[in-house]
Symmetry: C2
Subunit: 356 residues, 2 copies
């Protein structure tokens, strides 16, 4: 049985009453923290840090030592699955992730294996186990994966892209090949996330970083369809407690109503959609996570506090809101501004839960 | 008096009856055309091409020689105003636009002049006059500018950006300084676009490439407010005919209803919002321009034709639609696919105008 000292995050996702709005930050274990940079230097490159369970655990816990956060998130990368499929993930300084062997043909796709999460991805499971042990019930541990569409874009482009030339060429010339790829990825993500839960993850999040570059019709067919398949394939209970699933499509504000019907428990919302609008769109079907502009942390402490108040007011009274940034924290943020942000959520949110 | 041989584009923007849907492409004079690359090689760098009225005219007309397009657009750059303000625009190969002297302080902003469009920007006016003469009434000439917010991001960042660190720091720390900058830019854009009209532009478009990175509240205050100011300051009639104004905010699909109340005549729509949704949102207040995914031109001819049909159907019957891509054409598109696209609009659109 889970013996959580702080389960505010899980209760908010279940829309159960909470005394204040829980808060965590996407990429909270990251370069803005000097202690992260020190551990990273010890590990060598980024993937070596991900592959070392002790060091991955160390950086996962660092932000919790500094700030009263309500959740921890597995330190890993969204591209571990394609790497385990044999594409050869690597990072060039200042360039983002790259693959040595991007997909270029139907036969490349046909040959892709569905990786065994306890074998090729065993290093991730070791990290989950180690972190879960070290957390000792302090806060819940979030496991995660990239969405099939988002993974496919990196696999086809060989890295980040502005135009998604190869992925869209596949979509508009050989949609059946792209569907085969997405289906294999969905199966892989299901196995991967279920293994994370079996090893101790208490909540799951699927990052669809690039769903927002699609037409509404293609978003449904090539991204949301496969996330829905994943949600249906997940073990949603562990240690006697529900494992909630959060979907996050960056720039997906227009499709929140459709996403809410995927069977997930919560939706991540970026800062381009007000939570009031989002809450109306999802009509009580799911909880919401978000949605402060990560660049707000470049602002003054007064401005940050004002924005926290505005966002809390936008969501309004009652449970079902997990405070977060609308995207990962930038590497050049002053850690003191993070403290202002986290403390403000605690300070100003209680009033929205009184009598609820 | 205007003596236009083809005024379909202007009639569609005015929602007057047309026998078929007019079409043009953002960046239609561009690198995907071998004849453009040849002229560009003659000119030297990109800005030399913009500054040479004869060559700018040559490339403006090149796509019209190839395809039956219904409008020409001035060949220029969105960043001519900041360059004329003294920031020193230059282009590095594969890197996009950069400024030698980005803005870094309030005093930098206070010192910025409002450029005289007939002096520092006289080369643009020469291009407008030359192109208008060479067009000889074949199709209307579109003049354009970047939006104040979009210009401000390049001026603060010194180039393109993923996080808009400096612009958002200014917004969240010194909003009064950013407002001063945006107000100067709005005044400059008004003078610049009015001069384009005085020199022969028959329609105007404002490109807000980066409005979509703002919260809804900041979009209103820092981008839409200044575009509305510009629309109010423009001379909307020339040579006895209305000069329509089109606003385009990339990733602005959620705000089309607010944009429609700016006083403009039309809105550009990117491919992440269906035209049916957009038409409902703007409720007959404005015409719509768009909205095929530029990456669709990587597709097969059959797929392109299918998409043109889908988009025409999405807009539905009646005037008020100008067909376009949802963003500029990519440089690596096959010109033959452009022909398929343009021809399909003519072939399939007539049925939507019968009896209207």
């Amino acid at each position: 049985m889970t013996d959580l000292k702080n389960d505010l995050y899980l209760r908010a996702l279940a829309k159960q009453p909470v005394p204040r709005t829980p808060v965590w930050m996407m990429r909270q274990a990251g370069r803005y923290l000097p202690e992260y940079r020190a551990t990273r230097a010890k590990a060598g490159d980024f993937m070596s840090l991900c592959r070392n369970a002790e060091l991955a655990c160390e950086v996962t816990l660092q932000p919790l030592e500094r700030y009263p956060l309500d959740a921890a998130i597995l330190f890993s990368d969204i591209l571990t699955i394609p790497d385990a499929m044999g594409l050869g993930l690597y990072f060039e300084t200042g360039e983002g992730p790259k693959f040595e062997r991007p997909l270029r043909s139907m036969s490349d796709i046909e040959k892709l294996p569905v990786p065994d999460p306890e074998d090729e991805l065993g290093y991730v499971m070791n990290a989950v186990k180690t972190i879960r042990g070290a957390l000792d019930g302090r806060v819940p541990l979030i496991g995660f994966s990239g969405s099939p569409w988002t993974l496919a874009t990196y696999m086809c482009e060989g890295g980040s892209s502005k135009t998604f030339r190869y992925t869209k060429e596949l979509m508009y010339r050989h949609p059946e090949a792209l569907h085969l790829l997405l289906d294999k990825l969905a199966d892989s993500v299901i196995d991967y996330l279920n293994a994370q839960v079996a090893n101790g993850a208490q909540s799951l999040m699927i990052f669809d970083t690039w769903g927002g570059v699609l037409t509404p019709r293609d978003y449904k067919a090539f991204s949301l369809f496969y996330m829905t398949k994943i949600v249906a394939g997940l073990n949603r209970e562990n240690e006697g407690r529900k494992v909630p699933v959060t979907l996050f499509t960056k720039n997906g504000g227009q499709w929140l109503d459709q996403m809410a019907r995927s069977g997930c428990d919560a939706l991540g919302v970026d800062w381009t959609t007000d939570l009031e609008t989002a809450r109306t769109l999802v009509d009580g079907q799911v909880a919401l996570q978000g949605n402060m502009d990560p660049s707000m942390l470049y602002g003054t402490p007064e401005r940050i506090r004002e924005e926290v108040k505005r966002i809390l007011k936008s969501y309004g009274k009652g449970s079902g809101h997990v405070f977060n940034l609308g995207h990962g924290i930038h590497p050049d943020i002053d850690p003191e501004n993070v403290r202002v942000f986290i403390d403000s959520v605690a300070e100003f949110s209680a009033q929205y839960h009184q009598g609820c």
